[in-house]
Symmetry: C2
Subunit: 237 residues, 2 copies
């Protein structure tokens, strides 16, 4: 087999894997939006569907891992090609985690529908989920186009998600202090908000992988995000 043949085969393999990643991305985007919608409209059936569909995302991740291992063994890629394969594995792990968070959101929906709604929070959560879903869409575009600039922009937008989360955290504290009967619902809602914020962190991590892929360098501050609940003492005794 000539070198050219090997290169062409590698490119074909990689294209097939990228197609799996895009399919995963599509399912994950839908899961984010559906999970948020099921929460806002108190739609248990939709929540149940999100939970069931997570299986398909998990299976796609397994297939990506298998295909990547196969390509590594068969084509023995070097340099940039090797980097690409390892990066793809990381991206699919991130996508799978976001899918898990969406599933966890949906699980809590079934619990929350049994409690009195907390006014004004589910709309804010939906907006937060929408922001993360748009980031996800854009980061997958940046991946396909190897567009570091676009990935950098996605990375910056994660700060808006953090701000939305911080605002919600304060709102939950207020609701709980106003009326102890809100405490359990707010604890669950807070978890959901935190899960959405963590989804944003995973999208950011994908953006960093894209930057690495496009430029060969990780962005300066490349570590996974901190746990960023506001460290204030509002209402503390």
């Amino acid at each position: 087999m000539s070198d050219q043949h090997i290169v062409a085969s590698f490119d074909r393999d990689l294209e097939a894997i990228q197609a799996l990643i895009m399919k995963m991305g599509g399912l994950v985007e839908a899961a984010i939006l559906d999970a948020a919608k099921s929460l806002e409209t108190r739609d248990e059936e939709l929540a149940e569907r999100v939970r069931r569909n997570d299986r398909a995302i998990d299976e796609l991740e397994e297939r990506v891992n298998e295909e990547c291992a196969r390509v590594l063994a068969l084509r023995q890629p070097q340099a940039t090609d090797l980097r690409t394969v390892l990066t793809v594995m990381k991206i699919s792990a991130n996508l799978e985690r976001v899918g898990d968070y969406a599933k966890n959101m949906a699980k809590r929906t079934s619990v929350l529908v049994q409690m009195a709604p907390i006014e004004g929070t589910s709309g804010a959560m939906r907006r937060m989920a929408k922001a993360v879903e748009t980031m996800m869409k854009d980061v997958l575009d940046s991946y396909i186009q190897r567009d570091a600039e676009m990935a950098r922009d996605v990375r910056l937008r994660d700060q808006e998600v953090d701000q939305m989360y911080n605002a919600l955290f304060r709102q939950f504290l207020t609701f709980m202090m106003e009326d102890p009967r809100n405490i359990t619902a707010c604890m669950h809602l807070h978890f959901i908000a935190k899960n959405i914020e963590r989804m944003g962190d995973h999208v950011t991590s994908i953006a960093e992988q894209v930057i690495y892929l496009a430029t060969g360098e990780m962005p300066d501050d490349s570590r996974p995000k901190d746990d960023r609940t506001p460290y204030d003492k509002t209402g503390a005794s």
Copy 2:
């Protein structure tokens, strides 16, 4: 270079990488215990040290990634050897995440020392952290010895950590309902408890990688753990 030479070189490379993993493991174990201790004894200096030391864990993960990429490119391992390298990368990613959780715990300590202590919770958290740290120690042993049985045992013990977390969750709800002045502190403590529970999930994930490495098969229910806050309605309106 003869085949035998290549094999010997691969083994040497792998040993060097495994030494990095064990070093990471040691630092992560210490971080878990120190973070819990700083919380219980309200020791801000120790908390600050945990935060600073996380950098070393992050750097080790980067080195593991670089070394693995180098080995893949240079030795082009096949079959079991390839599987081993890919597994090592996953294990180091899990260790790094546990380190991050310990750092986040330590960050919250600095906030919590400024609030009135919540009786009886920090001892329970220390016990939970200790359980996770012991699991971590054992899973690293099982990794070095490729001992699937030991890894299975670690995996089962994660259920105890989950039970400890569930008990704490209920305690926090009670404290918050008893006195709204406890709400902010309990929200932070709850986060810490959840972080410890998530550390247990990452240890479980390492155990699954060890089982895969030792037997060639993932355990039946191999998906990452769900978000397992009790889905009850205690105190809900």
